[in-house]
Subunit: 273 residues, 2 copies
Amino acid sequence: MQRIKIGVYDSGVGGLTVLKQLLKKIPYGIDFFYFADTARLPYGSKPQEMVRGFVFEIFDFFRHLNVDAIVTACNTTDSLLTETEKKSLWIPFFSIIEPAVRYLRDSISGKNSVAIIGTEVTVKRSVYLRKLIIDGNISRISQKACPLFVPLVEEGLSDSELTERVVAYYLKEIKAFSPDFLILGCTHYSYLKNAVSKYLGNKTQIVDPAEHVSGQVIDWIGEIGDTNKSRISFYVTGSAEDFKRKATFLLGSNGELKVNHVDLERLGEIINL
Amino acid sequence: MQRIKIGVYDSGVGGLTVLKQLLKKIPYGIDFFYFADTARLPYGSKPQEMVRGFVFEIFDFFRHLNVDAIVTACNTTDSLLTETEKKSLWIPFFSIIEPAVRYLRDSISGKNSVAIIGTEVTVKRSVYLRKLIIDGNISRISQKACPLFVPLVEEGLSDSELTERVVAYYLKEIKAFSPDFLILGCTHYSYLKNAVSKYLGNKTQIVDPAEHVSGQVIDWIGEIGDTNKSRISFYVTGSAEDFKRKATFLLGSNGELKVNHVDLERLGEIINL
């Protein structure tokens, strides 16, 4: 039986939080292809047109890998694509923003306040903000870009005292405003959940979009019956060794991860697996 | 009379500290071309072979601009080039590491200790370390990579309380060892001089390589007599607007800076000025 192939991508290790959720929640054996554009990271501080160019290169790469669906594990690129672009891909595209917005719409009551944190691009694009405002059921909403969070996480400093300082630096106004919900609008930020939660206190519920992606993917998969173990192949544009070390730690993996280096020049070409 | 053209490059705004020194110390009118590869920044955390590729593209770009000399304002790339490569360029290449090493060799006595901070690549390449050890006249030497310093500076946070925390985080061991000299082995770090100096205390003399580059450039220029004002053209691979804002602030410029965007794909092609 042909196994389902799913492409998951991010600029770096942030999207592993999405991959982890998919591995945990999908009850079937899937072939995952995780692409991390570590050579061009961070995405969130770069010009929007440039990052849009990167995404379509990644789509081309997935086309050559012959995947059956793409799950974006990157809020920045998700915010840069139009609904039409997402719908007109040759295979299903699963957004990370959409399910989190739906979850919030179902959870909030008229008097709730929401804050969103993300990269500079994500905050400029204001997709979470606009989608939640359209619903109209929020008393107050604000957003804030935290550009140092991605480098912090990529440096493996998520649980350091330094991170607590950086979190306090960026979230000062949000803490003062004490929102009912805080959306982690960048998958890298999932690793900072403890520090963010500790700083903001119990009143604020942290919403991690990575936790809400799997639902629609599971619906799409339906019943396939393959109960063998899922497999993951990693593709990175930067150092394979470096990524292997980080991903092994972040995924809490015991086995040897299969990490392939991809030359940026060859992204659009056919790759022999 | 033909004015001298000098190409200066860095991954981002760090090299502006070198440009500032050249503008201040060269007594003649020069046409400067400052290239910042902001779309591919940071350099210091990327694979070495990839960054070497970037440098040769930048050299190609300068070749098409027909510059008379290249001044590197980037320690990372300087540390990646061999002596032979630097000498076999079609025009003179001025290192940022060399003059700082010479200055230190002349300044240190047998009992002095030295610490070097830089990007991950610069620290791995150990060029400062090896060149200073070869001299043998040092009692103790150490080096440390500080990967968050470049993002901090690019974020415009050099004088924030957050920077003091990050400085304390990275320089803890160096403070304990209390070296006589600390080399700022990355041009971005020049902007953190105050925070670094405040943290390490008076015993440690901060050596900023950007301040030592101009001497050999001035010797090479000789007497040309053009006493008109120097001109600067900026070329960036990322957002021109963003760079203009940052550079205007960092250079303390009153006038309008001329910042051009260069497509990465067109780096090696002929550019119409």
